[in-house]
C-alpha cells in the first residue's frame, strides 16, 4: 500500500493527535487560579472564557473521533479482517467520509485553538481603547498553563492537517485526473 496508504502510518499519526488533544483538554481542565482584583476574590477557570470552553468540547470530540478512526486503522492493518474484503466500493465511501471529517476537524481544531490564543493575547496585553484590562499579570500561573495547552493544541492540529493530507491522498488517487470523479480502471 506504500507509505501514505499504509494504515500504520495513519494509525501512528492519529495516536499522536489523540495524545495532543487529551493533553490540551487536561491542561485546560485542571487550570484554576484565584486572585484578588479590586479587593474581590476572582477565580479563573476554563469556564471564565467561552473560547476555552469551546476548545474543551471541540478537542474532546476530535479525540473521540480519532479513537474511532484508530480502531478502523487497526482493523485494516489485520491481514484477515482487512476492509478490502468488503469490496472497493465500500472502501471509497469510507475514504470520502474520512476525507470530509478529517478536513472539518482539522479546520475546527485549528480555528478553536487560534481563537483561544487570541483571547489569551487579549488577557496578556489588554485592550486599552476598549477598557479591557491586562489579566495575565494577576493570573500568571493560569496563563502559563493555558499557554502550554495551546502549544499541545497546535501540535495536535498540525498532526490533524497531516492526517487530512493522507486522507485526501487515499481518496483522490482512486480517481482519474481527466474525468469528473470517475474511479480509475485497474
Amino acid at each position: 500500500m506504500g507509505f501514505f496508504g499504509d494504515p500504520r502510518t495513519e494509525g501512528i499519526l492519529r495516536f499522536c493527535a489523540i495524545i495532543g488533544l487529551i493533553l490540551t483538554v487536561c491542561l485546560l481542565g485542571f487550570d484554576k487560579q484565584t486572585t484578588q482584583i479590586f479587593h474581590v476574590d476572582k477565580k479563573a477557570t476554563f469556564r471564565s472564557l467561552r473560547s476555552l470552553i469551546v476548545i474543551m468540547y471541540v478537542n474532546s470530540v476530535a479525540a473521540g473521533y480519532n479513537l474511532l478512526q484508530l480502531c478502523k486503522c487497526w482493523i485494516s492493518a489485520q491481514p484477515k479482517l482487512g476492509a478490502s474484503k468488503l469490496g472497493a466500493h465500500y472502501d471509497i465511501y469510507i475514504f470520502w467520509i474520512s476525507f470530509f471529517l478529517d478536513q472539518a476537524i482539522a479546520y475546527v481544531i485549528f480555528a478553536a485553538n487560534t481563537a483561544g490564543v487570541e483571547a489569551a493575547l487579549l488577557a496578556i496585553t489588554g485592550a486599552y481603547n476598549l477598557q479591557w484590562m491586562k489579566l495575565c499579570n494577576r493570573f500568571t500561573r493560569f496563563c502559563f498553563q493555558a499557554g502550554g495547552a495551546f502549544l499541545c493544541g497546535y501540535a495536535a492540529s498540525l498532526t490533524m492537517a497531516a492526517i487530512s493530507f493522507i486522507s485526501a491522498f487515499n481518496l483522490f488517487t482512486h480517481y482519474s485526473p481527466s474525468h469528473f470523479l470517475r474511479p480509475k480502471s485497474k
Copy 2:
C-alpha cells in the same frame, strides 16, 4: 479536463473568494465609531483589537494570492498558452505548490475569522469574572458592521476550502494509489 480539473471552475471559485475577502477588508477597514465610556471619548476602529488587524492583513494577502492564481487559471484556459505546453513535469510542481498554499490560506483565513468572532462575542457578552465589560451596547453600529464583515469572511473561507479540495483533487489524481508518490503511467 472534467468539471474539477477545468480551470474555469477554479477561476470562478477564486473570483468569488476574492470578492468575499475584499468585502471583509473594506467592511472592517471603514468601520469606525466614537462613543463615551465613563465620560471619556473612546474610538473603536479595527485597530482597537489585534484580531481585527490580523484579519485585515491575512485577508489582503489571501486576496492577492488568489488574484495571482486567477491569472494562472486564465492562462491555462487559453488553448494556445496552456501550461501543458511546458510539460507534465512542470504541471506537477504547480499542483504541489497550489495544494500547499491553498490549504495553508484556507486554514489561516478560517482561523483568523474565528478568532475575530471570538473577540466580537467577548465584546457582546463581556467576561464578568475577568472584569471585561460588554461593549456592543455602546458600539452597536460598529459591532453590526463587524458582524457583516465576519459573514463575508466565512463565505470566503468556505470558498477557499472548496478551492483546496479542487487543488487536492488536481494533485493526487496524478498519483498511483498503491505506490508512495509515484506518478501514474499514462
